[in-house]
């Protein structure tokens, strides 16, 4: 857990006037959570981050890491306990990838074998084959690969927390999405406490368990992405998250929150049309989903499709183009609906079992519910 208490930084300009870069920042980041610090340039987000590892010395206030006040401990010792990743990466060009990753363990005087094992483990975690990359030099890697090494280096000594300053800002958009996804996947396993500076609200919504929005050194709002988007604390936050905040909120809402539970609303492909008609009449469904060989939704049939027909449902169904699962975010689900010119999608659970369906009305209601919450 990282706790900032009345953390303040006052800079003096050469003319002697004071600039408050961070004004009594109070926040708590729970262990294992990613907290995104965001705001316009000069809002104090980077200052706040750098005060945690004291690259910037706080003017006043306290910082607690796992309950321990770190404001007074030796900076060198403190920094070795905190991983640090910056946008410009800052790999040592004269050292190999292996040596770069093993740098902090080496400073901590780990023995050679332990450093080597750890390096291999981290490179594998970062999807960089150690056999290929360990002995290369940074300039032989692409920007995205270098940033992976940067993250591996920060994690090397298993730090208590990670500080990341726009870590993926210099990576091209396609690779950025990939590296963000990989990072989230890794974070689910590692559960590090992370402070992450970003200027991209989409990145914040995607990556953050919490978002802290700064303006002119003041923490304007600190909450979950869903609540920041749904209940902006003031006009500034409202404007900052953008006019399409509801669309962004779709990204943090899962189908789970918005679908209609209807686990009986299916027939299997070899059942008769009569069975389908009976089910529709009994439950007053206007359509039923047709399950394929493996129990996965394969198609659907409506009342009019089978009026006066007989045989197996398999002969009469319409195809289904996209199947959502409970963890699919509503943004993707809605996009797939629009893509396939349909108003609903079947929803399955992790095992692929049909659970019900999601439609635009369900999404609208879910957005409304979470806004009022």
């Amino acid at each position: 857990m990282i706790k900032l208490q009345d953390l303040t930084k006052v800079f003096q300009t050469p003319e002697g006037t004071d600039i408050v870069a961070a004004d009594k920042i109070n926040m708590e980041v729970e262990t294992g959570e990613i907290c995104i610090l965001i705001g316009p340039s000069g809002c104090g987000k980077t200052t706040t981050l750098k005060m945690v590892n004291r690259l910037i010395q706080p003017t006043s206030g306290k910082i607690y890491i796992n309950g321990k006040d770190v404001t007074q401990i030796d900076t060198i010792e403190l920094r070795r306990q905190l991983g640090y990743v910056i946008q410009q990466i800052g790999l040592f060009p004269n050292l190999t990838i292996k040596e770069n990753v093993g740098l902090v363990p080496k400073l901590l005087k780990w023995d050679k074998k332990r450093i080597n094992d750890r390096t291999v483990e981290l490179l594998e975690m970062m999807a960089l084959d150690p056999a290929v990359f360990a002995d290369r030099y940074p300039r032989q890697l692409s920007g995205g690969q270098q940033q992976r090494v940067g993250v591996a280096r920060a994690l090397a000594a298993d730090p208590e927390a990670l500080l990341m300053d726009e870590p993926f800002g210099a990576v091209d958009p396609i690779n950025r999405a990939v590296i963000q996804d990989e990072f989230l996947k890794m974070q689910r396993k590692l559960k590090k406490t992370i402070l992450f500076v970003s200027h991209d609200i989409d990145e914040a919504v995607k990556m953050g368990d919490k978002i802290a929005i700064f303006k002119d050194g003041v923490l304007e709002q600190y909450d979950t992405p869903a609540r920041i988007l749904g209940n902006p604390a003031n006009d500034f936050v409202d404007a900052f998250v953008g006019a399409d905040s509801a669309i962004k909120r779709l990204g943090v809402l899962n189908c789970e929150d918005a679908y209609f539970h209807e686990p009986e609303g299916f027939v299997t492909r070899n059942e008769t049309v009569g069975k389908a008609r009976e089910l529709m009449a009994q439950k007053s469904y206007s359509r039923v989903v047709v399950l394929g060989k493996n129990g996965n939704p394969k198609g659907y049939i409506t009342k009019s499709d089978i009026e006066g027909k007989d045989g197996k449902v398999n002969d009469h169904h319409h195809p289904i183009h996209y199947i959502a699962d409970l963890k699919t975010d509503c943004r993707t689900a809605l996009s797939k609906m629009l893509d396939n010119e349909t108003t609903w999608l079947p929803v399955v659970d992790e095992s692929g079992t049909y659970q019900g369906y999601i439609n635009q009305m369900g999404i609208t209601h879910a957005l409304g519910r979470t806004k009022r919450a």
């Binding site: 590892n53 690259l55 900076t75 060198i76 010792e77 403190l78 920094r79 070795r80 991983g83 640090y84 910056i86 410009q88 990466i89 800052g90 790999l91 040592f92 060009p93 004269n94 050292l95 190999t96 740098l103 902090v104 400073l107 030099y137 940074p138 300039r139 940067g150 280096r153 920060a154 500080l163």
Partner: protein
Amino acid sequence: MEIIHYMASNMDLILQKTWEHIFIISIAIIPAIFTAVPIGIAITANDDHAKKVITTASVILTIPSLAIFGILIPVLSPFGYGIGEVPAIIALYFYSQLPILRNTYTAIKNVDPALREAANGMGMTLMQRLIYAEIPLATPVILAGVRTAVVVNISIATIASYIGAGGLGDFIARGISQTDKRQLVAGIIGVSILAICSDMFLAYLQKILTPKGIREEKR
């Protein structure tokens, strides 16, 4: 023809004088590296100091060598070293400062600030940062400074012959005073070959001491 004949028959003497030349320069350049590099690194911490130190070193370089030898005679005479190799070595030491110091300063200053921030952020001390990153990265440029210093010193050491420091300058000095073309040209050829060879040797050193990760890739 005459000259070749002269050089061939005096090869022993030429080699001896070349050795003297190399000796004076080596004795001057090695301590010069050990002072100029740390000073060059130290002044990166403060731009004002850097300006003063570099200006001072530049001024030293503009003093004619004969003048320095002249100044050193009364200064060193009480210790019995008014003339000979000692004043020559001291003068060459001072002349070596500027190229090495300025190159060190520039090289360290040009290290990517991102690297410095990353190093600080991961808890490296100033010393560790210098050893692991900044000095290795600055090495090629520092050695370029050493190359400049050596080549400049080879020509300045020639003049030190006038204060009895020996070296290949002896041929030139005698050639001029005795209007002996053979000795003059032999001295010039000797100095030129020495300068070219030293430069090539140092270029090679510069190449092998450049960290592999920043070497130009052959395409």
